[in-house]
Amino acid sequence: MTLRARTWLCAAGALGVAVLLVTAFLRMPRFGGDLHVYRDLALPATLARMTPNLVSSVNFDLRALDTLGEETIVAAAVVGTLSLLQPSPAERERIEPQRGYVMPVVKVAGYLLLPVTLLLGLDVVAHGHLTPGGGFQGGVVLATGWHLLYISGSYPALARLRPIDWCEYAEAAATGLYVVTGLAGLIAGGAFLANVLPKGEFGSLLSAGTVPVLSVLVGIEVAAGLVVLLAQFLGQGLIREEHS
């Protein structure tokens, strides 16, 4: 296909997409308007299950099955990275410790922010059913916070404080326990991932039934999974080039 024909084909496709988007946008409810069909259905259900954070209730209770799918995607991505980026025996011999200079300011900032970030991550996971956040967000904050150790220039410190084996076990166990929680709901409540635990008092830490349980499980899975994933990428960076 010539460049000219390709340009015309692309333009025709773009025009088609533009027409579809404009027709769809014209029929959408007004931005910031009062019409929210899903909100009107989700809000009473959320309040009945004693979950102040509507988003978490949707993620871990009303549509918990979707979250199981998303969690499986994260697990699959980590397994794929593990199998693709595992250093071969020949590469393993070329791994050498990293040398580099890190500005003292960066070092101090990294070490100062490390406890703050970890605490924030734990807080976001633990209060996922009460305040904005939840397992995924908290897990990601925990995993990125952990890698401030790497930013601070101490890859050996990160490697020592990063039990990769245990992260792999934790990731797999949390993914499995999510399904187990779902099956418990099936047995006790008659539906997969049914919210069967006592709902507790509105706004207290131990409330909302299975929402905090699933949130913490996802938090463990995402944090451990991201640490494993980044470890594979960082490990590849340490392998010396063959022809250098």
Binding site: V124, P132, G133, G134, V140, V141, T144, L226, F233, Q236
Partner: protein
């Protein structure tokens, strides 16, 4: 007032998105991508979606650029 803040946030996202596309070098693109994610985070906060903002901040502005940079470092020399 809210509309003005929203429009400013949207404009930031548009400019940053254009900057990502217009950056030729993938190494620099990782940095503009990170800035683009920061703008998106701002937009999500303005739209009262703090959950999404937190994820975007951590994944979009930290993890993804780091993965991009590490990958370029690994494959860039060939």
């Amino acid at each position: 007032m809210t509309t003005a803040v929203l429009l400013v946030a949207l404009a930031f996202v548009a400019v940053a998105g254009f900057a990502v596309v217009a950056t030729p070098d993938p190494r620099r693109q990782a940095i503009t991508l990170s800035l683009f994610s920061l703008c998106l985070t701002l937009l999500f906060v303005v739209l009262q979606a703090p959950d999404v903002a937190l994820s975007e901040l951590a994944v979009g502005s930290a993890v993804v650029p780091l993965l991009v940079l590490l990958t370029i470092r690994k494959v860039g020399g060939r």
